[in-house]
Symmetry: C2
Subunit: 227 residues, 2 copies
Amino acid sequence: MTDEVAPTDRPDLYEGLLTTRAIRRYLPDDIPETDLNDLLFAATRAPSGHNRQPFRFLVVRRSAATAEVRAVLTRGYQAAWASSRDEPATDDTSRKARMARTMSHFVDHIGEAPVIVFACLDQQVRHADLSAGASVFPACQNLLLAARALGYGGVMTNWHQVVEDELSPLLGLPDHVTIAATIPLGRPVGGHGAVRRLPLPQLVFEDRWGESAPWAADPPGTRYTGG
Amino acid sequence: MTDEVAPTDRPDLYEGLLTTRAIRRYLPDDIPETDLNDLLFAATRAPSGHNRQPFRFLVVRRSAATAEVRAVLTRGYQAAWASSRDEPATDDTSRKARMARTMSHFVDHIGEAPVIVFACLDQQVRHADLSAGASVFPACQNLLLAARALGYGGVMTNWHQVVEDELSPLLGLPDHVTIAATIPLGRPVGGHGAVRRLPLPQLVFEDRWGESAPWAADPPGTRYTGG
């Protein structure tokens, strides 16, 4: 029935890439500082353009000093979710309805996540373009994979944008710093496991746009987005 | 003396994150199609906003059909490198001079890389902003990590931008598709291993921008950027 992996599972690199899920519910456990250090160390091993490392990680835990940051963030996430959701019936057992309940829980509780990491981009421009993301999102992905490796989980989000004008002064962000992603982390309720995506032939082409790669095929047992 | 890991090494997930280097020199070996499939499958397991998966991977191998694409790309990379490089003396043994020789070799030979992957972003906008990168660069990082896992290596680059107006029609890219990154892949000359970054306390803050995280420290033996 379940295709989840135990949090104590120590996957090899390749398997880990296939089984890192977005984790949106967390046990109340704190993340020990040694693990936190290991998570951030792995994040910062990611590549960036010319190895200039413009990524900066601002870590927020559940201290009194961060109460306002966490309250503002929660309000922003609740507002963003309220404006984007459809309204499924609460007794709906579809995957979409389950996802909606997970999201409602997530936005109501993001402020209580054991750790919230603001992945920032420190560039001399406030409104960076797509290519600037090559110097911060690989590090975010490393952070999520390191969480998977050490028995944690998280999710990359950007609804901080709704309240960025309030958050930036609370976090003391200089003008040239943008929050690229907000990543809550904790011990997962539930677990990691194989993810659902579109069929590989829709995502991979060869030689020209839209031309199928004859060798591209999902392994047996792959599950797909939708349906 | 060497801190390189053997290409046949199968690291666990956490170790893999720490030891994936940018690989710019490739053995002439082709990448078998089964491995190519495994690489792209892992890339597409990465997260994207709302799991909408706007990433598309256009794979180019060393076929006659792709000769013009590879020639245009080489010309673009040579031009970009020529306009950005300093001129170190050829007998200079500094790390900077070695890097310059590696880059010169890289741009002259990128068209002969066993595989070139154009990581594309399929959105209804041509000039995407920073946050759009959250839906394509994690997949690029997964691709590089999968390469590490399977004994290959690659590097994320964006000098295709110099010749994008020529490349787009050759690759048949629709107006709403942008190349987010160009990633050559192959068996590494040399190997992977621990990477150099800035000291962790410069990259990680707690509670407020610029405030040090007391628990953030590099493990013993970490090597740093510069110097």
